[in-house]
Symmetry: C2
Subunit: 143 residues, 2 copies
DNA sequence: AATGCAATTGCAAATCGTTTGCAACTGGAA
DNA sequence: TTCCAGTTGCAAACGATTTGCAATTGCATT
């Protein structure tokens, strides 16, 4: 396997090109997002950021998330109940299954479902701009 | 077509059986929900309620929605951005397509997608408790 | 029909997640 | 280095929803 497909996005480059200033707080937040394997919310990102640079504020986390969402660098999820959660917009599209007991988020992907969504939308005279598919469930009890 | 399948749910009966007290505010709110053809939010329900009984409070609307959701009489939707929106839990299950330009909500149903969701969940070792499928799109530009 | 009391209400204040005004600060082009 | 528009931290504001509390009211019981 070559490293042609980096797992961690080079945000700094990407953002510079988008004409965004790379500041200290942003560099810290970008680093956190780059190697987050989960779907942290703003407060969690803030905690991780403060551990690196105590002067970072929650406001800046929120402002940065909004900016990154705006340039398409991250995705915002509004899972049931809780606050917005984020993840880098790398790799192929996927949807989520949320374990309603543990809160675990499991990713999955179904070309078939994606196709069907398109069909449905167009049969209704619409083009899909984006969508949201979330399954909420619990581990199947062993039989 | 007979009237064997009532379009408007008989909430009062349903709730009495569930051991819920039928108060004046509740009766008004239930009436509004019964013949709401749309997906109103709490504030909208409040407005419609006040038009019938000026003494109803927004708190009571919120408390009643929570109660009705709890007994499964209504569904709560958290469409992108806005506040929670509600609809009677009658008829067959359906999902929604939201017109991102007008805010219109269009209902649709796909047995195929529902099946695929089940398959996916069980392949991941889960039972689906509920799910959420929302398509956000815009009217296809006429070609 | 009158009684009794837990359930329900309206109101105001609180809460939660998020946004914003503002004065101080800083990245990075020149 | 200078310079200033962009960015920051802070505190206050925000919108949606929830909650404490004292007053009211369903409704089961006499
Ligand atoms: Mn994900
Ligand atoms: Mn609907
Ligand atoms: Zn998808
Ligand atoms: Zn569905």
């Amino acid at each position: 396997m070559t490293e042609s497909q980096s797992q961690k996005p080079d945000y700094e480059r990407e953002l510079r090109n988008a004409g965004v200033r790379i500041t200290r707080p942003r560099r810290v937040i970008l680093g956190i997002l780059s190697d987050a394997g989960d779907h942290p919310d703003a407060m969690e990102i803030f905690r991780r950021a403060v551990a690196i640079d105590a002067s970072i504020s929650l406001s800046t986390v929120y402002r940065t998330m909004k900016l990154l969402e705006g340039v398409g660098a991250i995705h915002r999820h509004a899972f049931e109940g809780g606050p917005s959660r984020f993840e880098p917009a790398i790799g192929e599209h996927h949807d989520h299954l949320i374990d309603i007991e543990t809160g675990d988020v499991i990713e999955f992907q179904s070309d078939r479902i994606e196709e069907l969504q398109q069909e449905i939308a167009r049969s209704l005279g619409y083009d899909i701009v984006h969508h949201r598919l979330e399954l909420y469930g619990r581990k199947r009890r062993k039989r």
